[in-house]
């Protein structure tokens, strides 16, 4: 058995998927270069008020209630990808018959999903969850399934052997249904010419059949085979086979690429982050639904915002980080924030990298919101493009005796919030650098290591006695100190910045000399002293540093 998922009025369905609030309104999609734009597709509501395909945009605009949208190939390709994702979540053998049609081989699926009617209903529900209103048909051969899906709305299941009977009432036009065009490219120019020839040929055949009085598939199926062959040739026989539901062919399965991207082109530019969050939420939900349908997660999200032309950008906004063309060439390589300037359109790019594969639209939205709050785009947004890099979902075996550890999703959100509070570079885990220089460390992303059961068992064993290590508390930045020397010996230390760090030197150890990086511009050389000062709090131990290159004295920290 084969199932076919067909999206009626595909360009309109692609827009509805991106903007569900338009479903109740009259919508027309136009294409072409201004001022010669023409209406390309309309929904039923628009059709009822007299809008038809082929009208000019100016004519359509006379209808005040009509919503006009330009044709978006990105939205259509996203809708097609969603269609394939839906099909692939049921069967690995999926053929992409057209942009609006996917065919599945259901052989062996019964044990997983039940009988064909159940599978058809599940397919319908799955497509609806991905934002697509589809027709689903199940038949014994792929072509019959396609014709039924194109001819009958909703879910239709044809029992084996009753194809001709079920296909009979369908109009003859269903055999010559136009397929929605795809985005043209240079490689496809020749193909496009070939397609136009095929279209002309199909038009000629349809005209001939209509002239004969053949209006439906039942009439075509009843024509004598030899006579039809004599008049229409092999194409006529092929069409008759299709009308009888007896055509048989091998499915040409495709492997849907793991590309998960969604786009919204905005009619009016967005200035505030709040309305942007609504649109991002929609895109993220769509992407997450698609990922979930393919049993995948994501570890990287790339958000690209197309900004309004730079000529209109407020000079104050420009300082937020829309650099000139020459600047972008250098800054866009490593930095997570990227700006591209193409012509007069600027693109603002943010990359959200996650430590582990995750699949939570709300979490992603919050992380993107926090990130955009910290790094605002700096100009009105006219287009949003979101790409998710697919990754295998993480699998972790929990254990009853494992120590507590934060949930990765919650932790990521918490870290993002804290980073928004204290700064991105001021939260994380410590990594020591291979240097003896003071402050020879950096902070890296906090990703707690997953504890293994064996480690947990080991840690539950009694620990060996280990003496405590005296710790140093650093003063950042070091306190400049005034030091009184008598006969070359430290006798008194005082700091103007911190009044409590002053007093006579009770005890001292040092100097301990160190130096390094003399081959670089930032060379350092210093003498360290451990000193005990008598002050109001009692005896306090400090680390005193004499900068041999700069010549100053600094109190670097206190032993505590």
């Amino acid at each position: 058995m084969f199932a076919c998922i067909f999206v009626p009025n595909f360009p309109v369905a692609a827009v509805f998927r991106a903007e569900p609030e338009l479903r109740a309104r009259s919508l027309a999609i136009f294409e072409g270069k201004p001022p010669l734009e023409k209406v390309f597709a309309v929904n039923d509501v628009a059709g009822r008020v007299g809008i038809v395909s082929g009208m000019t945009k100016a004519q359509a605009e006379l209808c005040s209630e009509l919503t006009l949208r330009p044709r978006s190939f990105l939205q259509e390709s996203a809708a097609h990808a969603a269609l394939l994702d839906c099909a692939q979540s049921f069967s690995p053998r999926v053929e992409s018959a057209a942009a609006d049609t996917a065919i599945l081989d259901l052989a062996g699926m019964e044990s997983l999903f039940g009988a064909p009617p159940e599978i058809a209903h599940e397919l319908f529900r799955c497509a609806a969850s991905l934002g697509l209103d589809v027709n689903v048909a199940v038949a014994s051969n792929p072509d019959a399934a396609v014709l039924v899906a194109r001819g009958f709305p909703g879910v239709t299941v044809i029992p084996s052997g009753k194809e001709a009977e079920c296909l009979g009432p369908l109009p003859i036009k269903v055999l010559f249904a136009d397929q929605p065009g795809e985005q043209p490219s240079d490689n496809e120019k020749k193909g496009k010419e070939k397609k136009s020839d095929q279209k002309k040929e199909a038009g000629r055949l349809l005209e001939t059949l209509e002239r004969w009085g053949v209006r439906d598939l039942r009439a075509l199926a009843a024509l004598p085979e030899v006579a039809l062959s004599e008049r229409l040739g092999q194409e006529g026989l092929r069409l008759q086979e299709l009308a009888q539901g007896a055509a048989s062919r091998t499915l040409m399965p495709v492997e849907a690429p793991a590309v998960f991207e969604e786009t919204i082109e905005l009619e009016f530019p967005i200035v505030l982050l709040e309305p942007l969050a609504f649109l991002l939420n929609r895109l993220l939900e769509q992407i997450c639904a698609r990922l979930a349908a393919r049993a995948l997660s994501t570890q990287e999200l790339r958000l690209t915002l197309e900004l309004q032309n730079l000529a209109g950008v407020d000079p104050q906004l420009e300082t937020f980080g829309i650099p000139s063309e020459s600047d972008t060439a250098h800054s866009a390589i490593e930095s997570p924030t990227q700006h591209f300037v193409s012509g007069r359109q600027a693109k603002f790019c943010r990359i959200l990298r996650l430590p582990l594969p995750m699949l939570d639209a709300k979490l992603f939205l919050k992380l993107l919101q926090l990130d955009l709050n910290a790094h605002p785009p700096g100009a009105p947004i006219v287009k949003i493009h979101l790409v998710a890099e697919a990754a295998r979902p993480r699998s972790a075996q929990g254990g009853l005796f494992l120590p507590p550890s934060p949930e990765p999703e919650k932790l990521e959100l918490t870290l993002a919030r804290i980073a928004g509070l204290v700064g991105e570079a001021r939260v994380g885990s410590v990594e020591l650098l291979d240097t003896h220089r003071a402050e020879g460390f950096r902070l890296r992303r906090f990703v707690p290591r997953i504890v293994q059961e064996s480690h947990a068992q080991k840690s539950s064993e009694p620990e060996k006695e280990k003496s405590a290590v005296a710790a140093l508390r650093m003063f950042r930045s070091p306190l400049r100190a005034t030091v009184i020397l008598e006969n070359g010996e430290l006798t008194r230390v005082s700091c103007t910045k911190k009044k409590e760090v002053q007093g006579s030197v009770l005890w001292k150890a040092g100097p301990w000399r160190s130096s390094g990086d003399w081959w670089e511009r930032e060379a350092w050389a210093r003498d360290e002293w451990d000193i005990a000062l008598q002050n109001a709090d009692g005896v306090v131990l400090y680390r005193l540093v004499h900068d041999l290159l700069g010549g100053g004295w600094f109190v670097e920290g206190t032993y505590d």
């Binding site: 120590p403 507590p404 550890s405 934060p406 919650k410 918490t414 919030r417 804290i418 509070l421 204290v422 700064g423 570079a425 001021r426 939260v427 885990s429 410590v430 020591l432 460390f441 902070l443 906090f446 990703v447 707690p448 290591r449 504890v451 947990a456 840690s459 539950s460 620990e463 006695e465 280990k466 003496s467 405590a468 290590v469 005296a470 710790a471 140093l472 508390r473 650093m474 950042r476 010996e489 430290l490 409590e500 009770l506 005890w507 001292k508 150890a509 040092g510 100097p511 002293w529 451990d530 005990a532 709090d537 009692g538 005896v539 306090v540 131990l541 920290g557 206190t558 032993y559 505590d560």
Partner: protein, 318 residues
């Protein structure tokens, strides 16, 4: 057998309300003259729920929580210092523990030891550092597993501070005010409290340490008691140890354990004895620390109980 009486109005809403006949029976059993005095008419009284008072067999086994001989105690975990564990029993999970003391009293040593012990157990830990004082070299020397320690450095970094200073155009008086240390520490304190809230809300950490050790006491005391109550409630019934390092105790009754540390007097004398030695012949090898258990709400130890002394060695002393 102990018995007590309270007016009916005080007992309203409680589950232990007796029928009139039972009350009369009880009152007749106890010496009425003793209760109400001679010549006064008998009043309607209801006994409170003490064991043995109730005749009703259904209530016989009920004991007020305040009278429980053994109260559920929180799980204690090692602080990483054997002497301290023997003294306090460790650090309680799901409770707030305060470590207070003056500079060089060993607060950070105890904090790092507790963190090291927690990371060795495989737990994730977080240090919310109000004054950005944590020394990574000391962290490594203490044996803390770095990839299990989250460090939140409060306060404004120098680059951000400069950019903020450039953008703002305050009057000279205001500039002086904003540049003051007090303002900086208040800003850090605000960050610390919000970061702690977020970490507690996130959950899953074995130990969360608030380092308020270098904040001026007048700033640290500005943390409202309600905030500490909130922290205590957030950490209650979780396996998290909430540790606050500070100069003086500021959490009041919210802390379950209050440990006061001091550098030992003996150490000071020792330093004075070595004063005559040349500085290059001396080496800081250890700090002697005295710990005093000021308050423990787990086992109702008396305040000001006896202290202990332990030494912390410097990293180079081995």
């Amino acid at each position: 057998m102990s018995s007590a009486v309270v007016p009916t109005s005080a007992a309203q809403g409680r589950p232990f309300v007796f029928e009139v006949e039972e009350v009369a029976e009880l009152c007749s059993q106890s010496s009425q003259a003793e209760l109400f005095g001679e010549g006064r008419p008998p009043q309607r009284v209801v006994p409170v729920s003490f064991p043995g008072v109730f005749k009703d067999s259904r209530l016989a086994g009920i004991t007020p929580a305040s009278r429980l001989a053994i109260r559920p105690t929180p799980e204690m975990v090692s602080s990483g210092i054997a002497e301290m564990d023997a003294f306090t029993g460790g650090l309680p999970r799901g409770c707030l523990t305060e470590i207070c003391g003056s500079p060089s009293s060993g607060r950070t040593t105890l904090l790092l030891s507790a963190l090291a012990a927690a990371t060795r157990r495989g737990e994730c830990c977080a240090v919310v550092d109000a004054s950005d004082t944590l020394d990574p070299q000391s962290v490594v020397a203490a044996g803390i597993e770095l990839d299990r320690l989250l460090w939140v450095r409060c306060g404004e970094d120098s680059t951000r501070k400069n950019s903020t200073a450039r953008k703002t155009s305050f009057s000279p008086e205001k500039k002086r005010f904003f540049k003051s240390d007090l303002h900086d520490s208040e800003h850090s304190l605000e960050q610390l409290l919000r970061a702690t809230d977020l970490l507690l809300e996130s959950g899953g950490f074995g130990l969360i340490a608030l380092d308020l050790g270098d904040l001026p006491p007048q700033t640290a005391r500005r943390i409202p008691l309600t905030t500490w109550f909130r922290f205590r409630r957030a950490v209650e019934h979780t396996p998290t140890v909430l540790l606050a390092v500070e100069r003086q105790s500021i959490a009041g009754s919210c802390s379950s354990l209050l440990i006061k540390l001091e550098s030992q007097e003996h150490g000071r004398q020792q330093l004075t004895n070595y004063q005559s030695w040349p500085s290059h012949a001396q080496l800081l090898t250890e700090l002697e620390i005295t710990a005093e258990l000021v308050c423990s709400r787990m086992d109702r130890k008396p305040a000001g109980s006896a202290g202990i002394t332990f030494a912390s060695k410097t990293a180079w002393a081995g």
